[in-house]
Subunit: 358 residues, 3 copies
């Protein structure tokens, strides 16, 4: 049994396999239209997310299967205090695979350790959202022909943006990818991303506060939203915000074949008049997300068919019940009788559920 | 690409075609049970409406397709501030056709102008609800044999009832339909409906406050609800309300073959003991709504198959960004970077989104 | 037309037939995978319940059919004041069978009396929840080989637990079933259950407050939750609560082949470390619920195919509009123009909707 909680749960070979499958689905959709006949995905969304939920449901339906589930916690048994573990065990009796979104970090891991079917993390708080990264990778691969040898700029909120951290982590495993980090100081990339990824994998990277200067150097521009509430100094926010809005005028400074990505939803960080520019690929990215979810569902159901053993994590480096996680949105704060799990990451203890330092 | 936002988007020939298709579906349901195999409808309901949503979903399922969507804005990305335009572009990647209900007037038009798939307006505020009118027309056609040469009474709230205005507009295009308008003065038909429809199409009509007197003259009685909150003078409401409730006793004054319609939900404007009378057709009307939605889905998907160009509106009479719409529930008040559109209607400028005078 | 509102609506022969069908479904799932092709279940959940709703939807999908519906009243037309009767009449036009959960006792009965399709009660307040009882019976039958000749213990809240009353009622119709009632005095079984079921059917039963003492005698242990709010004396609750929590240690006093059931969701009345014990059958019970719902859907659709007459109740003992039900959560308090119905139960008048004494 396999589950996908974090993008790093997938090897590069597996990711490349998913990219191949997705491209084959795009070319030959009919070949796949009955692959999951009789199968059901349970979309357990403890937090609303139309885009992601509909993407998983559309993916399963296009594979010939069905979807059941809920779209907000108020319409679920969570309001009666049911644990994630029990929910996963129960839903295992109804469905073949789970896509779970939860406001508690680590909830999908708890589900995967307790249920009898594969779990795909569809976003757990600020922690992980691996299928977004898969959508990003397919878009880059389709639009640029390859993921190697690219200069990829990330613009906006690089401090809190989990999609940014996750995509950088994935890109680290490809060849010769240069990273350009474009953000105000307040929202600069955290030092642990530099240490754990950029430095560790010897990635070439530069940091800048100037989008317009960086633009001409980029093959890929990954935009994210800057939220007012991230700033302590509101005047600073007002001064800065417009410089990180992508307009048609600014885009003219980019190369002809630069592609613009955005995890969506956007509010106004990309002007609507950019949408018709052929470099704008964020709606293609949405569709690519569906194709990668189809590929991932196929892969996980295929593994589950052959290996019915419960999902396990490598516990060689794990210590149980020794540390108490202090992350207020970690699932370990609320889940009934959950044993604490800490892992040794190069001398630092981290919570296995939420990856925060202990 | 075609979308249906307003009943007037459909020609009489198209409406008659839909009526024929619906009747054929009723006769030969199996013939249609796989017509939409592999197709998906997205039911995007920013405002709850069980009846209409389930009707669209049942329609698509009976055509062999599937439904995805949401039933209230709290479980959608709208709470994150996503624009209707982006939602439409995103959902175009997941589904083949959209049915949208929204509290903002004009929202389905914005969706149809931006998405890549047909949009059916499933009700936008007090503006339009064309598939209700299609349900009404099929019911009249099936029960009376024809839509021509009928006397149709409308009873209750004729001032705010969008279903009333819409059905009168549709009937104007048939032959020799007489209209009887039954309401208290406070809720009389607006003068623009008289000018734009009744007078313009030379329809014979009378206005009366007395349901019981009008009843014997009618072939069709279309009931609507009178809401207390529409009256400034509550004593007046108390005095009047019972005279617009249809009871079995009152119905006895109608002809043997009069039919009673109601867009539902009703509260108490039709007494429950009328339900068993053979003239009561409001539950047949519900089923006819499903059949007309099936016919409409088939028609729009068929057009979309042949013509993949974006949905456009005739802009020969449109002026951009000249007027500011003052309707507080018009979509132009909230949608990001939406250009204002005004159309010249016989010398009066109207907002293209909500049809209100500018 | 048949509906199932209360477990007693089913004869022992019918229950045994459902058990047989469910076991055949388990053995030969493919044989059933297209039985409901083209059929739709409407899951009308006026109160959230993920487990039950997903179970009905999974059941219909595994029979080859589809599901439509809603998961909370806020996303339904109930917020517009529509009656249950009208909702049932409307949904009859969209679906082939209804599963309804409602906070008003008797709502599914009102639906079944007014709609044109079979209704399954999926839980109406504290009144009935027959498919839970069917899940319980299949679990006992599969795990113990038979339902006859067993000693069945019920532990926890026996006063308010509708699943307990319902299962005892069902067991009364099998041979030589002994009942052990384990609860604090505050939550003892109501006297009407003793009179109407235990005494009436000459069932052997004992009452005790001690779970540990009772455990070694049981073939089946049915656990339920004790809620703090049931106690007037909070100190009493604190003193008692742990003695009704099933731990691995306590379970060691049970026989090797005792089975533990729970209607779920649990909070902490069964310790998580019991889950891996082979005697823990509450997750199997969940799956059995799905299989019994499949069997019940098949049975009701089969009857509806042959007999299209409206659902009726035996009204030989019913008196209309004579008594006024005082149960504040009875559907008769809110449903428009609903006639009161009282039935004579051995000299006591009871409301037909909620079964409460008048």
């Amino acid at each position: 049994m396999r589950s996908v909680i974090d993008i790093v749960d997938l090897s590069v070979e597996e990711i490349n396999g998913l990219l191949s499958t997705a491209k084959d689905i795009i070319k030959h959709p009919k070949k796949y239209s009955k692959k999951c006949k009789g199968k059901k995905i349970a979309t357990l969304f403890f937090e609303p997310s139309t885009r992601t939920r509909l993407s998983f449901e559309a993916a399963m339906i296009e594979l010939g299967g069905s979807a059941i589930g809920f779209s907000s916690p108020s319409s679920s048994s969570a309001s009666k205090g049911e644990s994630i573990s029990d929910t996963a065990k129960v839903v295992s009796k109804y469905a073949d695979i789970i896509a779970m979104r939860h406001y508690h970090e680590g909830a999908p891991l708890v589900a995967s350790l307790n249920g009898d079917i594969p779990v795909i993390n569809a976003g757990d708080g600020g922690h992980c959202h691996p299928t977004q990264t898969l959508a990003d990778l397919l878009t880059i691969s389709r639009e640029k022909g390859s993921i190697d040898n690219l200069t990829v700029g990330f613009c906006g909120d690089l401090k809190y943006g989990r999609t940014v951290h996750s995509l950088i982590g994935a890109l680290a495993r490809y060849k010769n990818v240069k990273i350009v980090l474009i953000s105000p100081k307040e929202l600069a990339i955290p030092s642990y991303v530099k240490e754990d990824v950029l430095d560790k994998y010897n990635m070439e990277y530069i940091e800048t506060a100037n989008l317009e200067e960086a633009l001409p150097t980029l093959d890929v521009l990954y935009m994210t939203r800057i939220q007012a509430e991230r700033f302590t100094d509101k005047a600073e926010y007002e001064r800065l915000k417009d410089s990180y809005v992508l307009t048609r005028e600014k885009l003219n400074k980019a190369k002809e074949d630069t592609i613009v990505l955005h995890p969506l939803p956007r509010v106004n960080e990309i002007s609507v008049d950019v949408d018709d520019d052929k470099r704008a690929c964020y709606f293609e990215q949405v569709e690519n997300g569906k194709f990668m979810r189809m590929a991932l569902i196929l892969m996980l159901l295929d593994i589950a068919k052959k290996d019915k053993s419960k999902y396990k994590i490598d516990d060689s480096k794990i210590v149980y019940n020794k540390f108490k996680c202090k992350n207020p949105v970690c699932i370990c704060q609320t889940e009934q009788e959950l044993k604490g799990m800490a892992k040794d990451c190069d001398g630092v203890w981290r919570c296995v559920y939420c990856d925060k330092n202990l």
